[in-house]
Each structure stands twice: as structure tokens, then as C-alpha cells.
């Protein structure tokens, strides 16, 4: 099966992998043994990539095997994904595999999920084993009473899991420190309280019956996922494992409950395991659970359901301006308020993405109509939060859809409607509109097709000349994307929207650098999207590409997105510069913060924002027009060149030349051409 020529590369990959994870966790094996172990896994992965028909199913096993063999450090998975992601996309053995990027994404996803699940079960099962051993010891107890009690005490106090012992009336007899931490109450104050009172009201009843001594037969256990209620009212999602303990005569005596805080785990494995059903921050349902509940409600509804998809307006501003801690508090508060809004209804509120919420209401005879419901939502959000901010949301509404709609259809329609509502500004809502939907749907369908198109070489990189207005400091070509009739801006927008930006950026940079290494057309300008500018691996990617293509660093100008740098910090720009690669700031508007950033980074070039360029050209002689002259002068005096993008006509180019910029690109300077023509 395995092709002989592929072996050395697979070995090399196993070695890279070993080198990356070796410092992240202690594994009691020699480096050679580790490499051999990882090579096995590489084989599984590489074979899966090439298998027809493709399935990522065998990969979950890879994650599990890593965990079983103690590759469990905090950074082990991340480094694994980095190494594999890079290697699989660019390894020659796999270069002919159709739809490679999608397969790689599927594979890394399956690996991460397998890993996260195994981590959880591993920790949990180990603790359960220990507990079981202790309880067994307890039953032999009377003879060696003190020893077994000491052992139980050890686990009880040292466990990272909450443990609580309750009597048959459900009253806490003893709880450990970890449980106290979870509920935010000193653990010494828990004895005497009823256990179910520590849970969310919605869970308390169900639990009360589960805890009935006849509910659990001898030796049996039950496991569930429930919400504890912190002292401050905040729900904490936990995993419970409950066993019934009998006394020496075999009569039921106590329940022992182990409690695992899954929301904390969630945070730890933030970008890995989104399979849990609930949003750890707000305690609301997450997208996955919302989907299945939505389906059930839709199926069973008599009067039809109404689906609301909300997006908080300008929430990123809050997050950046006041910090994530405040942002998180606000999100929790929003969740709570939305639950209040629909409190009298058969309804479910979910947090479906960062600042997006969804509500499904099963309409009853007294359910308010859509406009009134929207009014209530807006009203609830407009009430100032404890930090003084009032929020608003844009809302897409799908009201009483036909019975033949499936869940995906419903969710997609709500999202599309939300997007349209948002385009109208803040605090807007719209009902679903079939006609409008068709158009935007084409756009989204296009976005979804992008990964495939990239794999099938439908996307191209073209090069536009950058005109030098006389200073001699800017020249060369700028790389632009093209996909059939879609130009650079459209491609970037699509990629940012479908999350494909990083992969696309890496691919385009590699293409462009390879082309530039072989031409004499001057410097290669490469403009990064916001997401690409923030990529943590950006510097690594650029250095690798330079290395592989032998393009000298000075032959490249990387233009980073100004706003992304403001939001995420200028580290990427700084490090690129430190590595001898000239950098530019793209999308530059000349605001205060942007000028400080320029000052701090000492960027080599500034690329003005296309929107600003269009706006200014419209109104010669106006105040902005004069101001831009000042701006250009100061930036140039500071030592950075100023460049203008997307100029279509020679007249516009002349206008900017007058203003005094160093260079420009756009249709006026000649058409974009493919690399091989240069």
C-alpha cells in the first residue's frame, strides 16, 4: 500500500513531529521510540488522506493513541496540528490528492476531537478507578478502618474533581475543596445543605428522582451532564458520576457524587472540542444542541415556530475597548435577559457564535407577534448593563416556516436574513424574504465552494505593476487574487467570511514568491487580509516561503492590515521587520491611533485605505483633500513611502501624483497579468 518513495518524507515528518512535541510533555520513551510511534500515526494519516472514498474516521484513533501514550502536555495538540497542517498541505506525496485542503481540515478536526475526548475520559476514568478502589477498600473497612479512611481522605482532598457525599435524604454530609471552588462556597459550609439546591432549578427536579435510593441499584452508577449554580447565580456545566454506597449490612447508605467542571475543561481546550452541548460562558445551549432542539420543536409544533437570529451590534468595540472580561460578563447578561424575554413561552435561547444568539419560540395562542417580540428584545438589551453600556442587536427572523423545511434550511435562512438586516445598520430587523435570499445565497454558496476551487487551481495570482511616481522608493508588482470574474477584493472578502483566509494567504504568498524569485520586475508587494495579518504563524510562514523560493527578504514588501495590527498588537510586523523584511501598513486612514502605530513600527510603506482613496478623489479642494496633503507630507518626512491602491484612471493617478504620494497601482498603470508573462 505505502509507496516506497514516500517513506523518507514520512520519516522526516515523524521526526519533525517528534521534535515539536518532545519538549511539551514527558513521555517515558527514547526519542527513537517516540519517532517510531509517531511514524505509525503518520502512516495512518497519510493513508487516510489518500483513501478513496475519503473518510476522516480512522483519525480519531490517532488522537486517542497520543493521549494513551501520555502526549498530553498543554501545548502538545497545538504543536501537532501545526506540524501536520503545514506538512500535509505541502508534502509532495499528497500534492495530487483532490480537494486536499478540505481533507486536511477534516483530518485535523478529527484528530483534535479524538484527542480532546480521550483526554476527558482519561482523566475521569482514572479518578473513577481510584474512587472505586477506595470504596472497595472501605467495604473491607472495619478491619483496616484507619488505613482505608486515610486513603479515601487523600483522594477526597487532592482530587481535581468535586466530590460530595450525601445521605439518603440528599443532604450533604461532606464535600471537598474542589466542589466548594466550583460552586463558589467555602467547602466547609456545604455540609447540611441539600445537594439538589446546588443545581440549576431546571435540573434540580430531574436530579431529585435520580438520587432516589431505589433509582440506583446496587453497584450501579449513573452519569449525566447538569448545571451547578454558583453562589453568584452563574451556571457551571458539570459532568456527574453518582454511585450508591451500602453499609456493612448491604443497605443503601450514601450517595457519592463525582463532579467534573466541564466548562473549565472547555476553556482549556477552547479551540478543539466544540462537541459539548452547551456554551460554557453563558450556560445557554450551543449551536449544536440548538440545532437538534430546533428540529424537534419544528417537527412537533402546532401553530408553527419562529426563529430569531441576533447579532450584537458593534460588540467587538466593547471587547476591545473594555476588555474581554467585561465582554464575557455582557454576553452572560445578554443570555440571561433573552431568557427573561421568552420566559413565558415554550422557547429556547442559545449562543450560536461569539456575539450571536438564536431564539426559537413555539408559538402558542398568546405568543406575541414578531414585531412585538423584536420590540421586547430590543428593550431588554437597551437597558444599560452594569458597566454602563447599552447594547443593541440586528435580528433576522424566520416566521412560521413550512413543515418541509429542514434544520439546515431554517438556520441558513435565519442567518442570511440577519446578514441583510445588518447591512441596513444597527438595531435593524428583517423577516425572511425568499427573493432576497436567493441572491445572497449565491454569494454564500460561492464562499463554500472556495476551498474546492483552490484545490482545483481555479484561483490564480495575478500581478499589477506598481507605478513609481518619481521618488524611486516604490516599484515592482503587487500580487492580486482572481477567481473567474471575481477580483481581489471579492476573493478576500469571501475567504475572510468562510474562514479560509489563512490557507488562501499561505498558498498565494508561496505562488507569488516563487514567481517573484524568477522575475526581474522588481519588488513583490503582498497585501494581507486582517485575518492573515493576525495569524500567529505569519512570521514562520513568510520565512519558510522565502527559504523555499530563495526570494531575498528585501525583494518582498508585506503589507499588514492596519486595523488588525491595532487590535492584535504589532508583533507580527515588528518581527518581520526584525527579520529584514520591509513592511507596509495597508488600509491606512491616518487616524490618531494609526499614526502612533506607524511611529512605533517604523513601517517602510503606508498603503492608503481604498475607501479613503475613493472618498477623497470625489471632492478636490475640500478640507479632507487638503488634510490628505498634510498627512502624506508628514508620513514621508517620517521616512515611510506612501502608496495608493486601486486607481482606475490616469486622471486619478495625476491627482494623487499632485498630492505627492510615492506610487500607486490600479488599472491606470496597465493590466494585471499572470506570473508566467513576467
Amino acid at each position: 500500500m505505502a509507496q516506497p518513495p514516500a517513506r523518507p518524507r514520512r520519516r522526516e515528518l515523524a521526526r519533525e513531529w517528534m521534535t515539536a512535541v518532545y519538549p511539551t510533555a514527558y513521555v517515558p520513551l527514547s526519542p527513537v521510540e517516540i519517532e517510531r510511534f509517531l511514524l505509525d500515526l503518520v502512516d495512518v494519516i497519510a493513508d487516510a488522506v489518500q483513501a478513496e472514498p475519503f473518510t476522516a474516521a480512522p483519525i480519531a484513533e490517532v488522537g486517542q493513541r497520543l493521549v494513551r501514550n501520555h502526549f498530553t502536555g498543554p501545548e502538545t495538540l497545538q504543536r501537532t496540528v501545526e506540524v501536520l497542517g503545514r506538512a500535509l498541505l505541502f508534502t509532495p506525496e499528497l500534492s495530487d490528492v483532490p480537494s486536499l485542503p478540505e481533507k486536511v481540515v477534516a483530518i485535523l478536526g478529527a484528530l483534535s476531537t479524538g484527542f480532546a475526548t480521550a483526554m476527558r475520559l482519561d482523566a475521569f476514568d482514572r479518578q473513577e478507578e481510584v474512587k472505586a478502589a477506595l470504596l472497595a477498600a472501605k467495604q473491607r473497612a472495619e478491619r483496616v478502618l484507619e488505613v482505608s479512611e486515610a486513603r479515601f481522605r487523600e483522594v477526597f482532598t487532592t482530587s481535581a474533581f468535586g466530590i460530595v457525599v450525601t445521605d439518603l435524604d440528599g443532604v450533604c454530609v461532606e464535600a471537598n475543596e474542589a466542589l466548594g471552588e466550583m460552586v463558589g462556597v467555602p467547602f466547609t459550609e456545604l455540609p447540611g445543605r441539600r445537594l439538589v439546591d446546588l443545581f440549576h432549578p431546571a435540573d434540580a427536579d430531574a436530579l431529585a428522582t435520580r438520587y432516589h435510593p431505589t433509582g440506583v441499584r446496587r453497584g450501579e452508577r449513573f452519569r449525566e451532564q447538569r448545571r451547578l449554580l454558583r453562589d453568584d447565580g452563574e451556571p457551571v456545566w458539570v459532568h456527574l458520576a453518582v454511585s450508591l454506597l451500602h453499609d456493612a449490612d448491604g443497605a443503601p447508605a450514601f450517595h457519592v457524587t463525582m463532579v467534573e467542571d466541564v466548562s473549565e475543561l472547555h476553556l482549556l481546550q477552547k479551540n478543539l472540542d466544540h462537541q459539548l452541548l452547551h456554551d460554557s460562558l453563558t450556560g445557554l445551549s450551543n449551536r449544536q444542541r440548538f440545532g437538534s432542539r430546533l428540529e424537534a420543536m419544528h417537527r412537533k409544533s402546532h401553530r408553527g415556530i419562529t426563529l430569531y437570529h441576533l447579532d450584537l451590534d458593534a460588540f467587538s468595540v466593547v471587547n476591545i475597548g473594555m476588555g474581554h472580561a467585561v465582554g464575557d460578563r455582557l454576553l452572560r447578561e445578554v443570555g440571561r435577559r433573552l431568557e427573561v424575554v421568552v420566559a413565558g413561552e415554550r422557547a429556547l435561547v442559545a449562543r450560536v457564535a461569539g456575539d450571536e444568539f438564536a431564539i426559537v419560540v413555539d408559538n402558542g395562542p398568546a405568543t406575541p407577534r414578531v414585531p412585538e417580540m423584536v420590540e421586547r428584545i430590543n428593550h431588554a438589551l437597551a437597558e444599560p448593563m452594569d458597566c454602563g453600556t447599552a447594547l443593541s442587536a440586528s435580528i433576522g427572523v424566520v416566521d412560521r416556516p413550512g413543515a418541509d423545511w429542514d434544520v439546515d434550511e431554517l438556520l441558513r435562512a435565519a442567518t442570511a436574513t440577519l446578514h441583510r438586516a445588518k447591512a441596513h445598520g444597527k438595531r435593524q430587523w428583517l423577516p425572511y424574504d425568499r427573493h432576497e435570499d436567493r441572491r445572497s445565497r449565491a454569494w454564500l454558496a460561492r464562499a463554500a465552494r472556495m476551498p474546492g476551487a483552490l484545490a482545483d487551481a481555479e484561483l490564480e495570482v495575478e500581478y499589477r505593476p506598481v507605478a513609481d511616481f518619481g521618488s524611486g522608493r516604490v516599484h515592482g508588482r503587487v500580487a492580486r487574487l482572481r477567481w473567474d470574474e471575481l477580483g481581489h477584493g471579492d476573493c478576500v472578502e469571501l475567504a475572510e467570511a468562510n474562514g479560509w483566509s489563512l490557507v488562501l494567504g499561505q498558498w498565494a504568498l508561496r505562488e507569488a514568491a516563487a514567481a517573484a524569485a524568477g522575475w526581474s520586475a522588481g519588488v513583490l508587494h503582498f497585501v494581507l487580509s486582517p485575518m492573515q495579518s493576525r495569524d500567529e504563524d505569519l512570521v514562520g510562514t513568510v520565512m519558510r516561503v522565502l527559504d523555499e523560493t530563495a526570494l531575498p527578504g528585501t525583494g518582498l514588501r508585506i503589507h499588514l492590515d492596519t486595523r488588525a495590527m491595532l487590535a492584535a498588537g504589532g508583533d507580527n510586523a515588528q518581527v518581520l521587520r526584525d527579520n529584514g523584511i520591509p513592511i507596509g501598513l495597508a488600509g491606512f486612514n491616518g487616524g490618531q491611533a494609526e499614526l502612533s502605530l506607524l511611529d512605533e513600527l517604523a513601517a517602510d510603506v503606508v498603503l492608503l485605505a481604498p475607501a479613503a482613496v475613493r472618498r477623497l478623489a470625489d471632492r478636490p479642494g475640500s478640507l479632507p483633500h487638503r488634510a490628505i496633503g498634510e498627512l502624506v507630507r508628514s508620513v514621508r518626512e517620517f521616512g515611510a513611502a506612501v502608496c495608493v491602491p486601486d486607481l482606475d484612471t490616469p486622471a486619478l493617478a495625476d491627482w494623487w501624483r499632485e498630492v505627492g504620494v510615492d506610487g500607486a497601482f490600479g488599472a491606470f498603470a496597465g493590466p494585471a497579468v499572470p506570473g508566467y508573462e513576467l
Binding site: 521526526r15 517528534m18 521534535t19 518532545y22 519538549p23 510533555a25 514527558y26 513521555v27 517515558p28 527514547s30 526519542p31 527513537v32 519517532e35 501520555h70 498530553t72 502536555g73 498543554p74 482523566a123 479518578q127 481510584v130 478502589a133 477506595l134 472501605k138 473497612a141 478502618l145 484507619e146 482505608s148 479512611e149 486515610a150 486513603r151 479515601f152 481522605r153 487523600e154 483522594v155 477526597f156 482532598t157 487532592t158 482530587s159 481535581a160 457525599v165 445521605d167 450533604c172 454530609v173 461532606e174 475543596e177 471552588e181 466547609t188 459550609e189 455540609p191 447540611g192 447508605a253 450514601f254
Partner: protein, 275 residues
């Protein structure tokens, strides 16, 4: 009985527990290696430890890796039984597990004086006929050796591997460190081995001073030693190549990535064979 534990008679399994207030080295080390047997106080100590020595996690990992290489080396030299002094909380790659991969009949007696380390070792070794744990103070060789003989697991007429890995920096000068090692040495036959690793100020004096300061507020204050002092502990042993060196330099295995800077490894390590 601690206050607030409620209904006493019905929870007769709950006697006075370990003192969770004062952090311990065993639990600190467990935490640094990613284990789960530690209290809030230990984690707080670990955070201060990491401030003083940012490389602490790597040092813990390197120390554990040295333990493994040293055990395998002694097995290569024909040693089949080990006395592991200051063995810690059982975690990934315990001595009996490592030894048995190449010598299935290997016997191990663990010794630690810390409650949590001992409790967990007991659980782990409960049904293991070839390994056990003793709760003793390793600076009292008479007591340790007496109890070790009492287990019947070790044959003192054949070579024994003495492991003092990551523990000697807890032995204060007034406990006569040289005398402690000598007592163990005199109890074993020639061909027996000594693997020892301990913190030093020679490598990063400032960081080491910080660690000493941090550990003053734990159950285990620390006493770093110089290269010469550590080498002297091997009196009566032939130190095997490459001598007493920073952790990653002791017989690194083929293919090991050289990502760990020996100058930041904090600990000197060596192995000797009794003459």
C-alpha cells in the same frame, strides 16, 4: 476532625486528613509534570516557583527523563533491584514500569515521607508483588534500610540501584549528607549503583536564589550544592561517563532534539558504581 465536616458518626471513614495548608515538594513536582494530585496551596507555590525559575516545567521533565535513562543504564550494568529514595507521587514513567520493560523481574522499593505521595503509591502498588512503598525519612538510613530489608523484596547480597533523584537538595547540610550516602553505600555490595540529581547554584545563581527563597515557605526548604560538593557525594563510587553534568548532557539518547539549554537545566546529575 476538621471543623464543619458535619455528621460525624455516619462518616466514620473520615479521620483527620493530611495538612493541606502547607505546600509540599512532592505535589509541586507533580503539578509541574502536569499531574492532578495537588492542592491550591501547591499550585500557588508552583506559580511562585515558575516566576523564580521560568524553566521549571522543563527542568521537571528533564529530571524525570534522567531518572529513566539512569535506571535503564543500571539495568544494562546488570542491576535488577532498586531502592528509590524520595520517589514522589507516582506519575508517568515510574521506576518499576521503566525497569520492567527491559527486565520484567525487576524489584523496586519506593521510599517517601510525604503523605500524599505515599497514599497514591500504596494504591498503585496494592496488588504488585514485586514493588512496594515505605513511608520513611531517607535521611535516616538505619530506619529505611531496616524497613527495606523487612519487605523481603531486596536481596542485599546482589547489586542494588540506589536512586536519589531530585531529592538531595532537600537534605540540609546539618543532616550530614555525605554520611547519609555513605550509610546506603555501605549497605550494598560492589557493582551496586547510585543515581543522583540535585539543584545547583552553579548554573543560574540568581534563579536558584529565587527558588530557595520561594521554597522556604513550603514543607521542603532547599539546599543547592556546587558541582564539587555533588561530586563528593559519590565517594566510594566510580562515576560513569560523562560524570556529573547538567541533566540533558547525561548520556542523551540518539535523536534527542537539542531544544533544552543545559545552562538552564538547574540540576546536576550523575551515576556511579560502587567500587
Amino acid at each position: 476532625m476538621e471543623s464543619g465536616c458535619g455528621v460525624v458518626e455516619r462518616t466514620s471513614w473520615v479521620p483527620a486528613g493530611v495538612d493541606t495548608g502547607l505546600p509540599s515538594a512532592a505535589r509541586l513536582y507533580d503539578y509541574l509534570l502536569g499531574g492532578g494530585h495537588n492542592f491550591a496551596a501547591d499550585r500557588a507555590l508552583a506559580e511562585r516557583f515558575l516566576l523564580a525559575q521560568p524553566n521549571a516545567r522543563a527542568i521537571a521533565r528533564l529530571n524525570r527523563a534522567f531518572l529513566r535513562r539512569a535506571v535503564l543504564h543500571l539495568i544494562d550494568r546488570g542491576v535488577r533491584q532498586f531502592l528509590d529514595l524520595g520517589s514522589g507521587i507516582p506519575t508517568v514513567g515510574n521506576v518499576h514500569e521503566i525497569a520492567r520493560r527491559s527486565a520484567p523481574d525487576a524489584r523496586v522499593v519506593y521510599v517517601d515521607f510525604e503523605d500524599v505521595a505515599v497514599a497514591h503509591s500504596r494504591l498503585l502498588l496494592e496488588d504488585d508483588p514485586l514493588a512496594t512503598i515505605l513511608q520513611e525519612d531517607m535521611t535516616d538510613p538505619t530506619a529505611v534500610l531496616g524497613a527495606a530489608r523487612g519487605t523481603g523484596l531486596l536481596d542485599f547480597d546482589r547489586p542494588i540501584g540506589l536512586l536519589m533523584v531530585g531529592v538531595f537538595h532537600f537534605v540540609p547540610p546539618e543532616d550530614d549528607p555525605a554520611g547519609v550516602v555513605a550509610a546506603y553505600r555501605d549497605a550494598v555490595v560492589p557493582g551496586s549503583g547510585l543515581a543522583l540529581s540535585q539543584f545547583t547554584s552553579d548554573l543560574q545563581p540568581a534563579e536558584m536564589a529565587g527558588i530557595v527563597e520561594v521554597m522556604k515557605r513550603s514543607m521542603n526548604p532547599m539546599y543547592p550544592r556546587t558541582h564539587a560538593e555533588i561530586t563528593d557525594l559519590f565517594a566510594g563510587f566510580d562515576v560513569v561517563e560523562p560524570g556529573v553534568v547538567p541533566l540533558p548532557l547525561w548520556r542523551p539518547e540518539e535523536g534527542a532534539p537539542d531544544t533544552d539549554d543545559p545552562a538552564r537545566a538547574g540540576i546536576f546529575a550523575g551515576v556511579g558504581l560502587k567500587k
